[in-house]
Symmetry: C3
Subunit: 295 residues, 3 copies
């Protein structure tokens, strides 16, 4: 039987051992890592990779596009798709630094949590994504907006928040907002009537203090955090919390609880791509998988 080969293009200096391990566990026979890949260099690599095995063989070849440089990964995806033609098609997994699977797992858990609380789904909920201009925040905003929520992202600089919110909105059925939240006062203003608060900051940044949380009204809300290392994004929310009422009416989903689902989602995403002849496997597929795993 033909070997399942995954060409792994990483924009980082070293291809991620996380994704390589996942890919082998998903059943790929061979993972060939390439590091410091750019959209430009990806072009030649893809053209070189799709021909040798012929139209039948290429069905057993896949590409994984990853790395911290999300913009470059986007360009790489375009180039990769363009470089395939006729019967020379391969499946493509897109998960830059795990952003797609992380955001999918977190948003799916929030949605399931809301349902569990009798609050329905994300539809018409107000979702505040704090420090939401990074890879995970962008994808989370898109998934929330396309699930019917009124989502907005915050940044320490208003200009950046608005610019990136506009970029996200282009891929959404409803508009995503952008707000400045550079201190407790602004953060409180941003989150005070939100049903869902997600903290998607970089490692080591506390986005929501206990003081802010204590000033919130008594509505039921779900708070999620993607940071597992102290200081976490949301004060008082433990990385292992899984819909724990860590403050009155405030239910927390910690990074490890979401991360556990994220791993399952990535494994399934890779497995689906491996079995598929072609197609793009990105945050949309990841979100469907995440919701499915929580049923």
């Amino acid at each position: 039987m033909r070997k399942k080969i995954l060409f792994f293009f990483d924009t980082d200096e070293r291809a991620s051992p996380f994704d390589i391990s996942m890919a082998y566990d998903a059943g790929f026979d061979v993972v060939v890592p390439y590091s410091s890949v750019t959209a430009e260099s990806a072009k030649g690599l893809v053209q070189d990779a799709i021909f040798p095995r012929g139209p039948e063989g290429v069905k057993h070849t896949s590409f994984f596009l990853g790395g911290a440089d999300v913009q470059e990964v986007s360009k790489m995806l375009e180039v990769t798709k363009e470089s395939m033609f006729g019967p020379f098609q391969a499946s493509i997994i897109v998960d830059p630094r795990g952003a797609n699977t992380t955001a999918s797992a977190l948003v799916a858990k929030v949605e399931a949590g809301l349902a569990e609380l009798g609050e329905g789904g994300l539809k018409d909920k107000k979702v505040a994504i704090i420090a939401g201009t990074g890879p995970v925040g962008r994808v989370a905003a898109e998934l929330c907006a396309n699930s019917g929520a009124k989502a907005f992202i915050t940044s320490r600089r208003e200009e950046k928040a608005k610019k990136i919110a506009a970029e996200i909105s282009e891929r959404c059925e409803t508009e995503v907002g952008g707000l400045q939240a550079s201190n407790d006062e602004e953060t409180l203003e941003a989150v005070k009537d939100a049903d869902v608060i997600l903290s998607t900051a970089k490692l080591g940044i506390r986005t929501i203090s206990k003081e802010v949380l204590e000033q919130l009204d008594d509505r039921v809300r779900v708070v999620g955090d993607v940071n597992a290392v102290q200081p976490t994004g949301v004060e008082g929310l433990d990385p292992n919390d899984d819909m724990k009422e860590f403050m009155e009416n405030t239910y927390g989903i910690g990074a490890l609880a979401a991360g556990n689902l994220k791993s399952k989602v990535e494994l399934e995403l890779l497995t689906q791509a491996k079995e598929a002849d072609k197609g793009v496997f990105d945050h949309r597929n990841a979100f469907e998988i995440a919701k499915d795993k929580l049923k």
Copy 2:
């Protein structure tokens, strides 16, 4: 059973996904790619690679020497052979950027095409290799000359044509000529009484225009092209043509028709090297395989 390990030394910045895929499809269990390899660095790598498995184990180890820098690949081959000694021998595949297998497939198809037309083989045929100073052109010239043809290569600069023709001749039983062909007039002069015309230019260079082809006499001839992307090397010759009479008495072999055979040849070359305990597997083996596949 011992794993079949292939150490892949590529002079390019990134080891070719084409050859890696091929090697796995040929049954290697493991391909270990090294990029930006030089003859100098190859020495240490080979010495390091041949010892760990012992005299019996090394029979299951192979080397693949590839990359765009054909001169460096030649030096690498010398170094690789020198670094082996006594019972520590491994098989070595040489196919820089596919030049050996591409040239072998093209020349074998030309030879079979001539036979099909009742024109006999390559013996005593006049073969013009246009833009023949690159990797594919050099190997094609050598294979033609050693098949008894009167072969010559052209270049846009006479000096280069003569210099490289002399280099090729050193490896041939008969001399290979070198001519300047920098415009239609010179090209016509070069190809006008040729039985075989091969275009081995780089991507994107048109070597033979329709005007030149129309001025040729009415002898039966075979024309081959290694370029599959528009503009192809020979005007009017489609990459899929396989001995199609695309002009009167002029039979064309396009890049995809030859490329199809090239892939089979490389797969077989890799398979033979994998099964062999030792030995060099280069254009000579590739040419034998190509001719065999066409029987």
Copy 3:
């Protein structure tokens, strides 16, 4: 069944084909090489590698720390251990440029040789390690000292010998000495009453001349050499000698005789680490394996 994955961190520019081959022969399903790794970059790689497979899966993940930069490998080991926590533990093999397995094999052979000659083990023997400041010399000194021998290393510079002897002593139950041996006279003085003489110099350096050997008294002694290429470290000692009396009462163990055992030791070390859930596999384990193989 879960694949056995080995992440191979090499401080060298190119990950060693020797260790990669060994690892596959030891039964690892996948070896993922990373080159030019530093302690700093290892941190992120380890953290990235231990999570994806979960607490059960990580038992099937291992790390190999190698490369010529022994100091960096030491730091890398600390970082690698620190980056693991709770149930996220993996086995770690440490063998920078084969120093641990080479020294272990050589010292084990010396010990077995002494026993064979009726001289008992290493206990209370005087062991001179000439040019002993490099990776193999350091480990050999430690193993000898911890086997009860009175070991000392020499260097061409006294200061260096004393400094490194002090470093080695910190890891030993008894003190290791340091002496200058920059010419025949000093070397003779250093080795004249030694029961064991080991030459652990770099390739191409003759440490002990025939003149020195001829001036030694008639006690029974074992002499070992790690250099297989001419000029070897000890004049008159053939790389294939295996307890051969190459001078009266002087029994030699050449580099190939020791190297043969070294390969077996490394293979077993890798196999043990592969089967283990966690733990460090370094020169201590290698020495136990080496002694065991000689029983």
